[in-house]
Amino acid sequence: MMDVLLEIYYFFAAIERFIGDKHHFVRIGTGYDYVLVFRSGNICDCQGGEKTNGMINLKQMFLIIAVLSAIAVAMTHTVTLFSGQHSWYNLSGSGSNVPCLKCHEDIGLELYSGGVHTSIDCECCHRTSKMVGYAAVNASLVEPGQEAHSASTEECMLCHDGSGIPDTNFTHYYLNESSCLQCHDSAYVVLAAAAGGFGLTPDLCDTGTQAAHRSFVLEAMIADDSLMAGANEACIACHTTIKANIEFNVSTEAKITVNNAYNDSYSYWAVTEITPTNYIPYTEVKE
């Protein structure tokens, strides 16, 4: 016990050395200032920054701490460090019953700030992959989760690939039944438009052969160490307000090889090669 008290004493002494001013206040609680001031080994009780006559010595301090410790030991209730940690959510309902926004409030604020997807629940994107078995309770059948527990990071193309059920990898199995109209109209037509023009949808007319950003999308898809799933880097870069640094490396010159082919009676000029050269790098910053 004495060792603990001495350690407390040393701690407050260190605070004094750290502050360097023996009259600094340490605000504890709200509405009033309770100040412990060390002065020549004494602890004084001060109010409003004025020194009072209620100075106590180290022995008195130890006594106070001993009394408080006795009270703590005698209490029938312990104080929970993390309040609410035993208030369990009921998972028996359909869909996800865990409020994602408790931890991801910032994402909720982004979604609800405008644009598209403002009325779509988290689970409609993050618990909808047919390739993933999520933890769930369906009709009292407990499914512990396989490839993911509560949520997965999914590709934008999961919804925007233009495939129709059952071709799509999308599953409604884990969704709340009340969320239908978030993604379907009253005739149950899917509202998510296909991201055509990259040659990635089943539409035979979707060739993407002329798409200026196709290499961007394809590179986002094939990069093994990519930041996001599928082509999401490309989708996110354009369709959200995310900041992006784009490093371009562009040719500033063409090298053209021109040969004059000839014999005595016939000749022609032949352009045999056109090659881009003199590449320069530059960076675009999307704010």
């Binding site: 040393y10 701690f11 260190a14 750290f18 931890c103 991801h104 409030e105 910032d106 994402i107 982004e110 979604l111 405008g114 644009g115 598209v116 997807h117 438009a193 991201a195 055509g196 023009g197 990259f198 539409d203 060739t207 993407g208 002329q210 798409a211 200026a212 950003h213 999308v217 930041l227 996110i236 354009c238 369709h239 959200t240 307000t241 995310i242 900041k243 992006a244 784009i246 562009v250 040719s251 500033t252 010159e253 063409a254 090298k255 053209i256 021109v258 040969n259 004059n260 000839y262 005595d264 009676s265 000749s267 352009v271 090669e273 056109i274 090659t275 050269t277 320069i280 675009e284 999307k286």
Partner: protein, 419 residues
């Protein structure tokens, strides 16, 4: 307590407080869930956010500066289906947000109206097979179309019409030699290979489009410019290929070719020569307009009405294919000079109908020798190069009897001997 122990405890306490008071986790990439509204038809994504440099280039461009990104890169005249938002959203087929346009998509034979302005057809190159075989740059455009560097023929368009730089590595013959006997060839040969590199250094910006007057022929054809302006320096007059002089041995002016033009011997049509530029004017006078004097007679005539009258350029145009080419015609002296041409071959009066005007000499050059040699065959004499010291005896040898032994170097030099 040591300070380091104290610091660790303090940081730990602060961390615990933060952990206990914050229920949120922090997003690694903020704003990735802040989706842009694409409810409007056409494009709602701000191209300039990622392509500000290109917008800045356009803002400094002589042409196309008034166009938006969408005007070109979502041009509707191609039949390409782009992704569009709005109540009737379309997915996009050949392209999603944008495509890389072919310049001829707008500048084809029909032209196109873009942003309220008519994009004029790229004459000749917008036609099937890029106009006639006399289009000087047809090989460049055809190769550009074949190249995978850019779509369509854009490489060719860009190097001339924008600030995209170009380096041209030419390979051609070094010199030719021939002998004449009474205006008939007794020998002909070429030798050597000349490598020449021309650089048209510009800023490199492909979206800075040049006004037509800034397209400088002499940059890509610097070897010809040098042949016209510098040539092979010599004490009594440089040897300048590509700049023919009129040869005469009598009449006013003598051989003072720089300042006098006696042709046709002080008669009513006495005038400065069409091709020749006095030495003092060469550095500035050899420019694109000078090139057009021969390589696009129709254009030059329309832009220089006084010369059109003076030199009968209306008739000369009919000898050329200049109305069927994009900017320049591949031609040679015989295009305008020869039997049946507006500018017939003439001789001094004393050789009338006996010199090279009285034979099929010029026509034979056209039919018997490769295009690439024909101009230099003429220049072998019309450059009036090195003559032997015994000029009196030799004059008649060539000027009267049509006997000559000629060697001439190709551009950019032009040193020639004519004995």
């Amino acid at each position: 307590m040591r300070p380091i122990t104290f610091a660790i405890i303090l940081v730990g306490l602060v961390s615990v407080v933060l952990l206990l008071t914050s229920t949120n986790v922090f997003s690694l990439l903020p704003d990735q869930h802040k989706f842009i509204n694409i409810d409007n038809p056409s494009n709602d994504i701000d191209c300039v956010a990622c392509h500000s440099r290109i917008r800045a280039e356009l803002d400094n461009s002589d042409l196309h500066g008034n166009l938006s990104c969408e005007d070109c890169h979502r041009f509707e005249g191609t039949g390409i289906s782009f992704a569009e938002g709005g109540s009737l959203a379309t997915a996009g087929e050949e392209a999603h947000a944008a495509y890389t346009p072919r310049c001829l998509d707008c500048h084809d034979s029909d032209g196109a109206t873009v942003a309220g302005e008519y994009a004029t057809p790229a004459r000749a190159f917008c036609d099937a097979n890029y106009g006639c075989e006399y289009s000087a740059h047809k090989a460049l455009v055809a190769k550009a179309n074949e190249s995978s560097m850019s779509v369509g023929e854009n490489e060719a368009c860009l190097v001339c019409h924008t600030n995209y730089s170009c380096e041209l590595d030419y390979t051609y013959f070094k010199d030719i030699s021939y002998s004449l006997s009474n205006w008939s060839f007794t020998s002909f040969g070429c030798s050597g290979t000349r490598d020449y590199t021309a650089n048209w250094n510009k800023s490199g910006a492909k979206h800075v489009f040049l006004s037509l007057d800034k397209i400088d022929c002499t940059k890509c054809h610097e070897n010809i410019y040098d042949a016209l302006v510098i040539g092979t320096p010599k004490v009594n007059g440089d040897y300048l290929t590509h700049s023919p002089i009129e040869i005469h041995t009598s009449g006013t002016g003598g051989t003072d070719w720089n300042t006098n033009n006696p042709w046709p011997f002080g008669g009513p049509n006495y005038h400065d020569r069409y091709h020749y530029i006095p030495e003092a004017d060469r550095a500035t006078g050899v420019n694109s307009s000078y090139c057009y004097e021969c390589h696009n007679v129709n254009k030059y005539a329309n832009e220089n009405l006084a010369d059109k009258t003076t030199y009968d350029l209306g008739d000369v145009t009919s000898d050329t294919y200049s109305t069927q080419v994009h900017c320049a015609e591949a031609l040679w002296c015989q295009t305008c000079h020869g039997n049946g041409k507006t500018k017939v071959v003439i001789d001094n009066p004393e050789q009338l109908n006996t010199g090279h005007s009285g034979t099929n000499f010029v026509d034979d050059v056209t039919s018997d020798y490769a295009r690439t040699f024909q101009g230099d065959i003429c220049m072998g004499c019309h450059e009036a190069a090195v003559h032997p010291s015994d000029a009196q005896a030799i004059c008649t040898r060539c000027h009267k009897f049509g006997n000559a032994d000629v060697t001439i170097k190709s551009e950019p030099y032009g040193y020639a001997t004519n004995i």
